[in-house]
Amino acid sequence: MNEESRLRGIVLDVVTIAVLALVLLPIIWVFIASIRPDADIMTRSLIPARITFDHFANIFARADFLVALRNSLIVGAIVAICTVLIAIPAAYSLSRFTYLGRDFIGFLILATQMLPAVAVLVPIVVIIRSLGMANTLTALTFTHLALGLPIAVWMLKGYIDAVPRELEEASIIDGSSQIGAMFRITLPLIRPAVVAVGTFAFVLSWGEFILALALITSAEVKTLPLALQTLFDPYSFSWGVVMAGGVVIAAPTIVLFLLFRNQLVGGLTAGGIKG
């Protein structure tokens, strides 16, 4: 019986690996195509016979791609920092105080999470154009704030809820203000969550497509997802180069996801199920 169940476990593990490989095959394919010569890509086989980093050398030699990389880094970093700076006090306020309108404010912030970007695309584009801010990274950065901020507030609120009030009260008795207690006691305790939330905001901004597509047309302010489109030169494009561009966009997402898996899974479920 025991022997049988162990065998069953091994068989199921093997099946799991096979199924996982099948499900992730399209992603694996992108990675493989990015490191093989274009001539080999034509053979359509899965196993790379020769490995080359020419495609990466190629895209990193392109000025438009480097500009887009810089823009994406700037927008992503500012979005991450602002998300954290706005979300921490908001989460603290929702967690630690009781006041008139608190529940409504919490609901309002969460409701913005449920609102898809497509739903507000038209008014946002019209407003930003009439403000004369189309084709600016400032406008794009501001709209990207909405991507991760609501989840950030709710995730951090959960973490702050879990920090015992007594710790802060002890600090207040010792003479610090409530805000001082937040900075000295609570903030260090929730630091891993703060890092995760910032990462999350960065990743969402990094891969965001439709707002960038709608707001940005000039080359010098394009972000990476838009630059990937321009790699698709209809006259001479190489699948290897496009896939290498895809890997550059996907890589930080995957690395940061694997680093902050647990917090992000919590965030995904909180953002999707609550509200």
Binding site: P26, R102, A111, L121, V122, I127, A146, G207, T269
Partner: protein, 298 residues
């Protein structure tokens, strides 16, 4: 709603204002990016604004909504969006249920796989879209040669065939959203007490009977709620069909999100596009209301 405590009056103003001040920036962002645009879209939907004719919006009453109901292409996009939405959720459930059952074991492999399975969900649309275009390309695509072998595709990619293009992009859309359903189903499966299965096994229930009488009732609420959440997301799709086919061939993959985008950027009719988004929001509101009602009942 919270009630202010009795000693509110005695607290200094600073203490009362503090929590509001802390939450204010987040509220401002929510107002600027959600509430104001929604109100503006509502106002805009009653304007007559065709950029080629008049550069400034003028009051048009219901002119956009009249045009909207008479727009045959938009109606086709509307019904196509329902096929798209229901198809996407169906693919998500069909892929996620067996995967969740397979991953609901406490081994190292299963735990690692439960993490890696999330990759399609976290990766940007632009990367996955181009990855799938590559796989389906008629000259270099591995999947294209598979389809060719089975006689599904001729010499050109199935993305050029109106019916097959919609079908394959719906599948890709479901594949991308599937991990979220797996995640939720795994959580639901883990909350089923093991004793139930042991008792059923003692009573001589077959694996299928155990699945239909224990597992399915325990996870069907999760499936329904997450299906609604994913359905709302699918209803608002734009990125994937745009990246894959730009809504083509012959509008075959034009869902409402793409109709709306084209109304602004191709046809230069922002007020008309706003009317489309208002109608979409009304549908979303009804769907959310129904989902909330369902959730209360459980």
């Amino acid at each position: 709603m919270t009630v202010p405590t009795a000693d509110t009056e005695r607290r200094p103003f600073g203490d009362i204002a503090l929590p509001y001040a802390l939450v204010a920036p987040a509220v401002l962002v929510a107002l600027a990016i959600a509430v104001i645009p929604l109100l503006y879209a509502l106002w805009l939907s009653f304007q007559d604004w065709y950029l080629l004719r008049n550069p400034q919006p003028v009051w048009g009453g219901l002119v956009n909504f009249q045009a909207l109901f008479a727009d045959a292409a938009l109606w086709r996009a509307f019904w196509r969006t329902w096929i798209w939405t229901i198809g996407t959720v169906a693919v998500e459930v069909a892929l996620a249920l067996p995967l969740a059952l397979l991953l609901n074991r406490d081994t190292t492999i299963a735990r690692m796989a439960s993490a890696l399975i999330l990759l399609p969900w976290v990766m940007p649309f632009i990367v996955l879209g181009y990855g799938w275009r590559f796989l389906l390309d008629s000259e270099v695509g591995a999947l294209h040669s598979v389809f060719q072998f089975f006689g599904l595709a001729g010499n050109s990619s199935i993305l050029n065939d109106p019916n097959l293009a919609l079908a394959i992009i719906i599948f890709i859309s479901g594949w991308k959203g599937m991990p979220f359903m797996v995640l939720a189903l795994l959580a639901a499966l883990k909350s089923i007490p093991g004793e139930l299965y042991e008792a059923a096994a003692i009573d001589g229930a077959s694996p299928w009977q155990r699945f239909t009488t224990i597992t399915l009732p325990a996870i069907q609420n999760t499936m329904l709620i997450i299906g609604l959440v994913l359905g709302i997301l699918a209803f608002y799709s734009f990125d994937l069909p745009w990246i894959m086919t730009r809504g083509g061939p012959q509008d075959a993959t034009t869902v409402l999100g793409i109709s709306m985008y084209k109304a602004v950027f191709t046809d230069l009719r922002p007020a008309y596009a706003a009317a489309i988004s208002v109608v979409m929001l009304a549908i979303l509101a009804v769907a959310s209301f129904l989902s909330l009602k369902l959730r209360r009942r459980q």
